[in-house]
């Protein structure tokens, strides 16, 4: 399943070829590192799910992920212990995580999620630890936990952007903390300033530094051209060994008579392209097609000409070179077919509100609809136009529209290239901006492109922009069946990891339903208890000291965990991208911890009514034991889900999973 993705990216690191992914690089770097250390040579192609690994050494990478995944249990245990000071609560949580089939499945394979969850839980644990050290600020352990929180935050952010939510959680906790300190009048403002500075240093500056360092390593390691090039701008590509923009030299300023290629500035935008084929009948005027093409090709070459004079004198070697200036009116002639870039008031083939763009004229003679005004964004008239660095807008003189690429793919007649239109809506979008990439003019001196070597900050910004756009580009298609956030807590539908048919070795990602439904019930219970407790406190009900302590644990500790759960769950409802079941697992960790705390408190509270303290203790221990036994038995029932099942489908009574398909939507 997704191993094909992340395993492949691990291989890229080992081979040092550049690639593009919507997630930040840390997780894949760690996978790559684990693979490298365990002797994996990066040659396995990771073509499609289900391929056999054969002789390749993949155990290192899987083992690494599984190790991180198993660290979650002690982390959760310690966190709950720290929050509730109750061993049974912590044990309950630990058992839940140990015996959850979903967590096991997810951490067994080469995926980003175990790494993400490791850092996330690490951050939570060190935050909680740091809170308990609050009574002795600036001690060694305080500094240690505080900076460890920062490190983990950087790690979580560096694996997936979902790490942002844990940053938010820690941030809110810190703000609350500081607000508390501010109200403490025994603390002088100077001391408060020191507190503030310490937190800024450890929780903002340190993670930021680590995060950028991570990207620095990423770009330093990946210095060869690879499959991710096309997503990035020309300047970026010039940095990669093996890319055709690497170490080339071109004339710096655009001149008349030059042969150029124009690249659209939208992400994965193509080169302005034309070919001998005409638009078919019924699609605008029957003239030559103009498209955007993602690959490098001779048909991408255009010649820049003045709008009023023709070619002859320009090819003459003796005549002086004349540069193109901002605001000039030019004509673009297609080199192969000698037709001019042309637009008119026919509707474009796909985007009906735009105008059609065609190639028109014979041997460079056309009409007034071939004239385009060339403008550079953010420059004044009369300035020269730089190759690669200037962002160019081409305005059609006759209709006032702007040349742009809509990003839609043309049907068969257009060879499935991308549509180019002339848009009458004058908006600044990268769709309607171009830059000149190749530039051939024998009369001009070449300069090396190293001049435009982007700074590290620019690279960082650009890669983030590309990642964010890539993320928002992951939209579900219309008829695709997607997972909805409300499916998740009720364990409505799992995810098939491998194997479809009866004979295959099948692994199915699905949480242990008993545990998940217990978690769900616990959230409801917790809210009920917490609300009634706060109302009781607000009404001024007098509580015994033991109950006070319980309510403190419930509200303070449980509140933090609930906040974590909310932060890791609710934002998914607003996301437009494709969502998968495994996105819920970070939230599931929080909800498991909440389950531990809730049941522990509830049992303590209920048994508190019993008359003698020994029976109370027995009842309490018995309650916890029953819960643990139920969890273990359910794991016994469902363990084939994560360790793989062979044989007939669950609908068949002879299958080991017969009778366990409690919901129709489960597909094992």
């Amino acid at each position: 399943w997704d191993e094909t993705h992340f395993g492949k990216m691990g291989s890229y690191y080992i081979n040092r070829t550049f690639f593009f992914d919507v997630h930040p690089p840390l997780g894949k770097m760690l996978i790559g590192l684990a693979g490298y250390l365990s002797g994996y040579d990066g040659t396995f192609p990771f073509q499609k799910p289900g391929d056999r690994y054969e002789q390749h050494n993949y155990v290192g990478m899987r083992g690494f992920c599984a190790f991180l995944g198993s660290c979650l249990v002690p982390f959760a245990y310690l966190t709950v212990l720290e929050l509730s000071k109750s061993l049974p609560a912590a044990l309950l949580t630990a058992f839940i995580l140990v015996f959850d089939t979903g967590c096991i499945t997810l951490s067994q394979y080469i995926l980003l999620d175990p790494i993400l969850m490791f850092f996330l839980m690490g951050a939570v644990l060190s935050m909680v630890k740091c809170n308990t050290c609050a009574d002795r600020p600036f001690s060694t352990s305080w500094w240690f936990w505080l900076s460890l929180t920062g490190v983990n935050l950087a790690g979580a952010m560096g694996v997936k952007f979902v790490g942002l939510f844990v940053v938010l959680l820690v941030g809110l906790n810190t703000v609350y903390d500081l607000w508390d300190l501010l109200g403490n009048l025994s603390l002088s403002l100077v001391m408060f300033g020191r507190h503030l500075l310490a937190r800024v240093l450890c929780l903002i500056l340190l993670p930021l530094a680590l995060y950028t360092a991570m990207f620095a390593v990423h770009f330093a390691v990946l210095n060869k051209s690879g499959p991710g090039d096309g997503f990035f701008s020309s300047a970026f590509q010039s940095q990669l060994i093996g890319n055709n923009l690497h170490n080339v030299s071109v004339p710096e300023y655009l001149a008349y008579g030059s042969v150029v290629t124009m690249k659209n500035l939208r992400m994965a935008g193509g080169y302005l392209h034309s070919h001998w084929h005409l638009y078919p009948e019924g699609v605008g005027a029957r003239q030559q097609q103009v498209t955007a093409y993602l690959h490098k090709d001779l048909n991408n070459l255009w010649i820049i000409k003045k709008h009023d004079s023709n070619t002859a004198d320009l090819s003459d070697p003796s005549s002086p070179v004349e540069f193109v200036r901002h605001g000039d009116i030019i004509r673009l002639e297609h080199k192969e077919t000698s037709r001019n870039l042309h637009s008119h008031q026919h509707e474009a083939p796909l985007t009906r509100k735009h105008f059609q763009v065609t190639g028109y004229g014979i041997n460079g003679t056309g009409d007034a609809n071939d004239f385009w005004r060339i403008e550079v964004v953010g420059r004044k008239t009369g300035k020269l136009i730089k190759v690669l660095r200037s962002q160019i807008r081409l305005t059609h003189v006759a209709t006032g529209c702007i040349l742009g690429s809509s990003g839609k793919t043309l049907p068969k007649w257009g060879w499935e290239q991308v549509e180019v239109t002339c848009t009458p809506y004058l908006k600044e979008t990268p769709n309607s901006l171009w830059n000149v990439e190749d530039h051939i003019n024998p009369k001009l001196p070449n300069i090396s492109l190293d001049v435009l070597k982007p700074s590290f900050v620019e690279i960082l910004l650009e890669s983030h922009m590309v990642m964010i756009r890539g993320n928002s580009g992951l939209k579900p298609k219309d008829n695709e069946v997607t997972s909805k956030p409300w499916h998740w807590p009720i364990n409505y539908q799992g995810l098939r990891f491998s194997g479809v048919n009866e004979t295959d070795y099948r692994v199915y990602l699905l949480g242990n339903p008993v545990i998940w439904w217990l978690n769900l019930v616990s959230i409801g219970l917790y809210l009920l208890i917490a609300i009634s407790t706060t109302v009781a406190l607000k009404r001024g009900v007098q509580l015994t000291s033991q109950l006070k302590e319980l309510s403190q644990v419930l509200l303070r500790g449980g509140g933090q965990i609930t906040l974590g759960w909310l932060l890791h769950y609710l934002p998914f409802f607003m996301m437009g991208r494709v969502l998968y079941f495994h996105h819920y697992f970070p939230a599931m960790l929080f909800s498991s911890m909440l389950t531990g705390i809730t049941w522990d408190t509830l049992l303590k509270f209920c048994t508190g009514f019993l008359s003698s303290s020994t029976t109370a203790r027995k009842a309490y221990g018995g309650g916890i034991l029953v819960l643990v036994l139920i969890i273990m038995y359910s794991f016994y029932l469902f363990h084939p889900l994560s360790y793989g099942m062979i044989g007939p489908m669950a609908s068949d009574p002879s299958s080991p999973m017969a009778g366990l398909r409690w919901m129709d939507s489960w597909e094992f």
């Binding site: 501010l182 009458p424 008829n479 069946v481 607000k538």
Partner: protein, 726 residues
């Protein structure tokens, strides 16, 4: 006896002349020359068509919001005697004589005018001085964008009116709370809050956010009451129940009633029918109801049926087959079974008829008594005209190679046996023995041999050989429920003719029998509401669309109307000075609050406690109102326009006098600085008025300006003022 005659009869009336004057001015500013221009202005073209449909009682679905706003506009048309006969096709088209322009535009204009006194009252209820309240009302009065928006058949001014009304009535209620709980006026204002909230939500979904804000504020106030030990538990419960009733139950009931009226008014079938399910369509007069009226309800063995796909996207279609076969080889070289094509066809056709057959029997007629088909039964589906059986097998489908091809079986004698058994699964069944019902039942067909599910593939239409009809496939991995796999019977009759010739005649004849069924209101409501929320409009680009960030600084405008010959035009442009001041006020408010908050935390009190409470509650309403009406737009994916910002702007404008009064009361210490400050305010107010006057030609559309004057008005380069070329 006659003692009462000893005293004169005295009527003491207290009239707040401020309020009266403001109302009158508001009315003048909004109603002046209301029926000019006598042409379709901007979105009137959009809302107008719905008004026409209301007048003609034709059903429609509008995804832009709930129906209450549309109904109010239609009410204007109804009062003006509009017959609905106008073609709303183009902005700028002249209205014909039968369109009562004045009364159509009256309601939005009245709502806009009443916002002025409402603003005054809100500030008074927030315990600010009458001077500040007057200032707020004047700023609303002189805001060009609000004027423009309320003078046409648009919904924003109505929305703003209800939002302000809700806020005002909540404040009134809250101020009565301390001394006269459960009195008559207490109840009145509490209930009015709920009613106004539901009206706001009913006009546009944006109203929901203000409703939420008020709920949150009410919750906060109630939380303080819980802490009040003087209140008994019982009275606390009463308070809680009263609020629950007025702020939750009544709005929900009102909201339902909007839909009830909407559905009661629109009982004729119309252009949007096809979005709805068959059952819904059958409940409308005309359209499908005419065809399906009197069909037998239960599908039996031998029934002749048409099967409609429930998804209805990209278009509604019916399961279809015809004589032509799949080509032996496709363009890309893959092979097919060369059997008869099965497609999904978007038009009614005799080839859409199928006959339900019991696999164990030969007959194709309904026995007497009919044997109904139930959930889980195995059936064969016979194509009526060609008498071939619906079949699927392990051959890749023409366009979706991962799915199975569905065909009507032709025996070529090539060891490819017929696999034509299908299990009927009723998706919306109540029990496992449910009978398959016409129109009501949603059914999946699961292939018995391969457990593939009959489905319309993702809207892909077949090439020439398939006549561009939609592809039907057998989906092997049925990933849960998806509407493209679900079908329902639309037309239905009991087959009578055993002979093929007779049957063809029968298939061509229209259906006729007699039962009628009606959906309950709640079912209709649920469906309509769901469609409104999920319907998506494709076109996202518009010349005047803008992004939410542009609104704060008013970097964009919208041209509403241009006179066909002269340069007279109407634009949505706000009062620049007011917008800028509102931003500054919001900024000052937030900075000052933060400053005070931090200082109070260190036990330093800059302002007296009661002033601080005033400051907080005023900010909670105004800044909160601004935030909830503005910030959600950043995560919305629909096309945004400048007018979406107007509700937020209204709240922001209310903040200006609050901040000003606070500054003059608490930060201007000396008498001199106070009078200086007052002088500044007066100067600033007069410049607001000047700006208003400057832009009023493009607000009211008259007088026509010359080219030079228009160019002078273009204060920002990003504004799009239409200048006619000579």
């Amino acid at each position: 006896m006659l003692g009462f005659l000893k005293k004169p009869i005295v009527v003491t009336a207290e009239i707040n002349m401020n309020l009266l004057a403001l109302t009158v001015m508001g009315l003048i500013s909004r109603l002046r020359g209301l029926s000019y221009p006598r042409a379709v202005v901007f979105d009137e073209v959009y809302y107008g068509q719905f008004v026409s449909l209301y007048m003609k009682r034709i059903f429609f679905v509008d995804d832009s919001g709930p129906p209450f706003g549309h109904m109010l506009l239609a009410l204007g048309g109804y009062l003006g005697g509009f017959d609905g006969n106008f073609l709303w096709n183009r902005i700028g088209a002249e209205y014909s004589m039968n369109v009562p322009v004045w009364s159509l535009r009256l309601l939005p204009a009245l709502a806009g005018a009443l916002c002025v006194p409402l603003a005054y009252q809100i500030l008074v209820e927030l315990h600010f001085s009458h001077c500040a309240a007057l200032g707020a009302a004047l700023l609303i009065l002189l805001e060009n964008s609000l004027i423009t928006q309320s003078r046409f058949m648009l919904l924003e001014s109505i929305l703003i009116f209800f939002i302000l009304l809700a806020v005002l009535s909540y404040l009134k209620f809250y101020n009565l709370q301390s001394h006269s709980s459960f009195s008559g006026s207490w109840w009145f204002w509490l209930l009015l809050t709920g009613v106004a909230c539901s009206c706001a939500v009913g006009v546009k979904y944006m109203g929901l956010f203000t409703y939420m804000l008020l709920l949150a504020i009410a919750g906060l106030h109630f939380w303080h009451m819980i802490g009040d030990q003087n209140l008994s538990n019982v009275s606390l419960l009463c308070h809680f129940l009263a609020r629950g009733l007025a702020l939750i139950i009544i709005p929900v009931a009102m909201y339902l009633s909007f839909f009830y009226v909407h559905l009661a008014l629109l009982y004729r079938s119309g252009p949007h029918d096809q979005i709805m399910t068959s059952a819904f369509q059958a409940s409308l007069e005309g359209g499908l109801a005419r065809i399906t009226q009197g069909q037998p309800l239960e599908v039996a063995y031998g029934s002749q049926i048409t099967l409609r796909n429930v998804l209805g996207k990209p278009m509604q279609c019916w399961l279809h087959s015809h004589k032509n076969t799949y080509p032996i080889r496709y363009e890309n070289g893959r092979g097919s079974s060369h059997q008869q094509q099965v497609t999904c066809y978007p038009f009614k056709d005799v080839n859409n008829w199928w006959i339900v057959k019991d696999p164990g029997m030969q007959q194709l007629v309904v026995s007497n008594p009919p044997r109904p088909v139930r959930h889980g039964h195995i059936v064969q589906l016979v194509h009526g005209i060609t008498t071939r059986y619906l079949n699927t097998h392990d051959v890749a489908a023409p366009l979706s190679p991962h799915s199975q091809e569905v065909s009507c079986y032709i025996d070529y004698n090539i060891s490819m046996p017929a696999q034509n058994l299908w299990r009927v699964e009723i998706v919306n069944r109540e029990s496992d023995t449910d009978v398959w019902k016409t129109i009501l039942s949603e059914v999946r067909f699961v292939h018995v041999n391969t457990s593939a599910v009959l489905k319309v593939s993702g809207g892909a239409s077949l090439p020439e050989w398939g006549y561009r009809q939609l592809e039907v496939v057998g989906e092997k991995l049925s990933k849960g429920y998806h509407q493209s796999m679900v079908w329902n019977v639309e037309e239905h009759r009991y087959g009578k003719s055993q002979e093929q010739k007779e049957r063809e005649v029968e298939l061509h004849s229209p259906t006729q029998m007699d039962i009628s069924k009606n959906l309950s209101f709640m079912a209709k409501f649920a469906e309509l509401q769901w469609k409104i929320l999920t319907l998506k409009n494709e076109d996202t680009e518009h010349k005047y669309s803008s992004s939410a960030l542009d609104w704060i600084t008013m970097d964009t405008n919208i041209a509403y109307w241009l006179h066909p010959t002269s340069g007279a035009q109407i634009h949505l442009i706000g009062n620049v000075l007011t917008w800028a001041s509102a931003n500054v006020a919001a900024l000052i408010y937030m900075c000052l609050s933060l400053w005070y908050l931090v200082r109070r935390r260190r036990r330093i009190y800059d302002v007296p406690e009661d002033a601080w409470q005033l400051w907080l509650s005023a900010g909670g309403i105004c800044v909160g109102g601004w935030a909830v009406n503005y910030l959600p737009f950043f995560v919305m994916e629909k096309t945004l326009f400048l007018y979406h910002y107007l509700p937020a702007l209204t709240f922001q404008i209310l903040l200006i006098p609050i901040v000003l009064q606070h500054l003059s009361n608490h930060l201007c210490r000396s008498l001199l600085s106070k009078s200086m400050f007052s002088a500044l305010i007066v100067a600033w107010f007069s410049s607001v008025y000047l700006v208003y006057c400057t832009f009023s030609p493009v607000t009211y559309g008259e007088p026509a300006l010359s080219v030079a004057e228009l160019k002078d008005l273009r204060w920002k380069d990003s504004w799009n003022i239409l200048i006619r070329k000579r």
